[in-house]
């Protein structure tokens, strides 16, 4: 079963990050939301409309991109957008501005099959923007983008959220997600492991900690553990010592008393990646 007992509530407005390792059920969830696959049990609602029965009533307000955007390879990017605009009764004048906005205006006349992965993603985003959507459901929109493209997409999504739209963003680029998301959900083995505003999810890492580096790392860990600290190896020849910031001196003293002199002691930065790895069981 790809997704099991998943309950998600996405707040209106802002960027919602939907995270999970490969095969955790992110794309299946998105396909359910868009009526492409039917759940065996349970229900989805999008903008208050039940999926799939009422989806047609809100689909005009939902821009979506599932995995790599798929268009007709033999048609130009512009032609593909024209066909979609025609299908939903949008005027063709909406095409040029969105091509400009995603930076594809110069190459819009080229055949889709000649596009790089990054250009395909840009065209996918252009098609999403054509609808002027209230809700954007994007599955890995940054796939294949170069650093400048990543920044462009990040800025674009942020600006869309700032306009009051809701962006539901599935991604494995955790740093990107942390930079632009207001709230996140972490999916592991088809179930939701954590959900909420980014700072609340970061806090789930379990309080503050220090990163300690010293010679005789095995001995250092044993000494700290015997002194009552919760010390674990980080995998990069350093130790994670769970302790409040005011106990830095105590850590130094315990190690010095054992004849171990620190080479590094710093507060651990809490990253979404660390929380993600811990919650999905993929950490060191």
């Amino acid at each position: 079963m790809a997704v099991d007992d998943l309950t998600l509530e996405v707040p209106t407005g802002g960027v919602f990050g939907f995270l999970g390792p490969n095969g955790s059920g992110k794309t299946t969830t998105i396909r359910c939301l868009l009526g492409l696959v039917r759940p065996n049990d349970g229900s989805c609602t999008v903008l208050g409309a039940r999926v799939p029965s009422m989806l047609p009533s809100v689909i005009g307000k939902v821009g979506s991109m599932v995995e790599t955007p798929t268009f007709f390879g033999g048609f130009s990017g512009r032609r593909n957008l024209e066909l979609l605009a025609e299908a939903s009764g949008l005027p063709r004048r909406v095409i040029d501005p969105v091509l400009e906005r995603v930076g594809l205006a110069d190459r819009s006349g080229d055949r889709f099959r000649t596009y790089s992965l990054g250009m395909k993603q840009r065209l996918g985003l252009a098609s999403v923007l054509m609808k002027d959507p209230e809700l954007l459901i994007l599955d890995e929109p940054a796939n294949g983008l170069d650093p400048s493209g990543l920044k462009d997409v990040r800025d674009l999504l942020r600006s869309l959220a700032d306009e009051g739209r809701t962006v539901f963003l599935s991604s494995h680029l955790l740093n990107e997600v942390q930079l632009i998301c207001d709230s996140v959900a972490i999916l592991a083995r088809g179930r939701c492991s954590a959900q909420g505003p980014v700072n609340e999810v970061l806090a789930m890492r379990g309080g503050s900690a220090f990163v300690v580096r010293a010679p005789k790392i095995q001995l250092a860990k044993r000494v700290l553990t015997e002194a009552g600290f919760r010390a674990t190896f980080r995998g990069d020849r350093s130790i994670r010592v769970k302790a409040s910031p005011d106990r830095a001196g105590r850590v130094t003293r315990v190690l010095a008393d054992a004849g171990i002199y620190l080479t590094e002691l710093r507060p651990e930065e809490i990253s979404l990646e660390a929380v993600f790895l811990e919650l999905t069981g993929e950490g060191p």
Binding site: L34, L36, P56, V66, F72, G73, L83, A87, S127
Partner: protein
């Protein structure tokens, strides 16, 4: 729905396969007319020399036979007369007499082309994965299938009628300058127009069935496989069981009837009296209705499957 239909019409017209087929059809007809023009002759005595040669060859062979086998009877080897052979060697292009059969043959070829184009039109959507994109714009699958089928059926019917009309026009100079237009009356044009309409109907049937099967198989190759398996293996097989009693319900019987082909063996009379031919123009009503029912049934199955199956 109208927007979706317009989009499907635009997509159809933009497809390279359709454009290529259209160019091939137009140039192919023109080339055939040119070849026919070159090979035909207005001379009523054209072919007389070939007929005489043929008869002379036959006479020489007959004499050799009798010389080598004196016991042989002259009646055992009869040669045709020049007059008997002359019609076969006549190079005059008799427009009114020839064009209905030529049109039927071309309509049959366009039927096959319609199946391929119809299969490709729907199959390409699944092959490229763009059906996923389309479904995120229009989740009502019935509308999507209906728009595709309507676009295909209407456009291929029109294209077939236009190609057949072009065929009639392209061969007019051949008849006028390299044969004759004798017998070309209003009735001939009605006959030809009837064949265009029947050809258009047959093309619509082929396109609808191909679209339905492509929706089930979700690719173009699957349709070609199914069409081959049915047309070459299953249909003839079914036609041969139970003394051919199933034949009136099969494509092998109804497709030629719809086109009004001459010399179609009448199945019920075939066993008792051998080769019996149909009248000049067969009624299109029964085969048209039957084929429409088949197409509707396949499309209904395709819709039910499309509606319930996940798109992954």
């Amino acid at each position: 729905m109208s927007g979706l239909l317009r989009a499907e019409v635009l997509r159809f017209a933009s497809r390279r396969l359709f454009r290529l087929a259209a160019v091939l059809a137009v140039t192919g007809v023109l080339a055939a007319a040119l070849i026919s023009f070159v090979q035909s002759s207005r001379d009523p005595n054209s072919g007389l020399a070939e007929a005489r040669d043929q008869v002379a060859n036959c006479e020489r062979a007959r004499e050799r036979f009798l010389a080598e086998d004196p016991r042989g009877s002259a009646e055992e080897w009869q040669c045709p007369t020049v007059e008997e052979l002359r019609e076969g060697y006549d190079k005059r292009f008799e427009y009114a007499e020839t064009m209905p059969d030529v049109s039927r043959g071309v309509a049959a070829a366009l039927f096959v082309a319609s199946v391929i184009i119809g299969a490709s039109f729907v199959g390409a959507e699944w092959g490229s994965g763009s059906i996923t994109t389309l479904l995120t714009w229009e989740p009502r699958r019935g509308r999507i299938l209906a728009a595709k089928v309507i676009a295909l059926v209407v456009l291929l019917a029109l294209a077939t009628a236009v190609v057949l009309a072009w065929l009639a026009v392209a061969f007019l100079p051949v008849g006028a300058f390299r044969g004759s237009l004798d017998g070309l009356t209003r009735s001939t044009w009605w006959t030809l127009a009837g064949i265009w309409a029947r050809g258009a109907g047959l093309a619509s049937f082929g396109a609808a069935v191909a679209a339905g099967i492509a929706t089930l198989t979700r690719n173009t190759a699957g349709v070609v496989g199914v069409a081959f398996a049915y047309g070459v293996i299953l249909d003839p097989l079914l036609g041969s069981v139970r003394g051919g009693r199933l034949r009136p319900w099969l494509l092998q019987h109804n497709v030629p009837r719809l086109l009004g082909f001459l010399n179609v063996p009448r199945p019920e009379a075939e066993v008792s009296s051998g080769f019996v031919t149909q009248p000049l123009m067969l009624s299109a009503f029964r085969p048209l209705v039957l084929l429409a029912i088949y197409a509707a049934a396949i499309l209904a199955i395709a819709y039910a499957t499309f509606r319930s199956r996940d798109v992954t």
